[in-house]
């Protein structure tokens, strides 16, 4: 590639955190046309859960990546990769991190997808920007693995990490003079101080998550439920509905062949109601209580136990009797009266939610 006779164009991966925001801003401030992209995997922490839960403040949360794009003044597209992303989660070539987080494969996949994007004006991008910092993450942000990301994604030297560029070989945009390497940075390690200092310098005073944590696959409670889902089905598979349901409610598995999903507040109950056509479900009749989906096929005795568990989470938890209505998938209901189970009677290993 030769020198450009036009303004260089770059696409920046925007997670909603500080680093990607800074990386995009650093390159934009050198006169490069920068657009952002945020990939929707289904496992994003914000979005689904915030939409379902009703906080006391009833505050509608913002989409962090969109908010970042607004703050630094770049266009941004959100791209749904949830279907193709399944293969990354289920069969990661480079394996998982501490939990079920395929961070290295994930970054390779996202950089590769970013390369193929076109700008809002229908034009291809000249290079890709990420907010990676050498040594910041044990799995995906080491110098060895960052080289793998560049190679396996197909980006090669068209991948620029502005926050750590001085610790890495010069990329194409630097060699071609599209960006001035001298004005890039040499951050490394887990300290966040250089990022905070740069944010201040660039006039950025607010950001959502200083250090990652934007993916449910790094959440211990969530991945425990995902692993349980795979174990119970005997195969590693999921769809978007599964991904969302694992974020909602209290998950209790009294036996391998059935699980209870119990709403924890009204927003979750309302959301779970939308699944009544797909699952048998239970609700409390004599007292105020949550909705409970039954995932699986419990026996009659097990339904009795499930009813006692649900009663324990209702306002009748200290009552002698609680009436529970059980509705099967065909819509046929029956009511039974049960004594609420005491909290100590629910073995810890049944509970999949922290």
């Amino acid at each position: 590639m030769t020198a450009l006779s036009r303004q260089p164009r770059a696409v920046a991966l925007i997670s909603g955190g500080l680093d990607s925001m800074l990386a995009a801003k650093v390159v934009q401030s050198q006169g490069v046309y920068v657009e952002g992209v945020n990939f929707f995997t289904g496992f994003c922490v914000e979005g689904h859960t915030q939409a379902v839960k009703r906080t006391k403040k009833q505050k509608v949360k913002r989409h962090s990546a969109l908010w970042c794009a607004e703050q630094i003044g770049i266009p941004m597209q959100i791209v749904d990769i949830s279907e193709d992303y399944k293969d990354i989660v289920i069969n990661p070539e480079y394996g998982y991190g501490r939990l079920l987080n395929p961070c290295l494969d994930c970054k390779i996949f996202m950089v590769n997808r970013a390369l193929d994007l076109k700008s809002n004006h229908g034009e291809p991008f000249d290079f890709v920007i990420t907010g990676e910092v050498v040594g910041q993450r044990p799995k995906s942000q080491r110098s060895e693995t960052m080289a793998i990301i560049a190679k396996d994604s197909g980006a090669e030297d068209r991948l620029l990490r502005p926050l750590s560029a001085k610790n890495l070989p010069p990329s194409l945009p630097e060699r071609e003079g599209w960006v001035d390497r001298a004005q890039l940075h040499g951050f490394s390690g887990r300290s966040r101080k250089p990022q905070f200092s740069l944010a201040k310098e660039l006039g950025i005073n607010e950001w959502s998550q200083p250090a990652g944590g934007c993916c449910f696959l790094t959440d211990e409670s969530y991945t425990k439920k995902l692993q349980d889902l795979w174990d119970s089905r005997g195969r590693r598979d999921y769809d978007l509905e599964d991904v969302v349901l694992l974020k909602i409610g209290r998950h209790i598995r009294p036996a391998p062949h059935y699980k209870l999903i119990i709403g924890r507040e009204e927003g979750e109950n309302q959301y779970l109601r939308g699944f009544r056509h797909k699952f048998a479900y239970m609700s409390t009749v004599s007292h105020v209580g949550p909705l409970c989906l039954i995932d699986g096929d419990p026996t009659k005795e097990e339904r009795l136990l499930a009813s006692r568990i649900l009663a324990r989470y209702s306002q009748g938890r200290t009552a002698r009797d609680v009436t529970i209505r059980i509705t099967d998938q065909s819509g046929v209901s029956e009511e039974i009266v049960v004594e609420p189970l005491q909290p100590h009677s629910i073995p810890r290993e049944w509970t999949l939610t922290n």
Partner: protein, 87 residues
């Protein structure tokens, strides 16, 4: 203005049941296909659209016209502008 008061030819995008950011993604897919200024009403059940769609409009050069809650639905009206330019 709500979905019942739209200009003739306006497009209705039903995203009921979808959680954010999927309504925004559906709007984005539609907006990328318009060849002339087109009014579109996004009907959603996720209140997140009230913040996300205006924000998406601001960063991508579309016009957020209005937002309204009707019972359990949210109607967000957007004027989508053609963006692709032959170069």
């Amino acid at each position: 203005m709500d979905a019942n008061e739209l200009m003739p030819g306006a497009h209705v995008l039903d995203t009921k049941g979808l959680l954010c950011p999927l309504p925004v993604i559906r709007l984005q897919e539609f907006a990328r296909s318009v060849e002339s200024e087109t009014e579109v009403v996004v009907i959603a059940t996720d209140p997140g659209v009230l913040a996300d769609i205006p924000s998406w409009c601001r960063v991508n050069g579309h016009e957020h016209v209005s937002s309204k809650q009707l019972d359990h639905e949210f109607h967000v009206i957007v004027r989508a502008l053609p963006q692709f330019i032959d170069s």
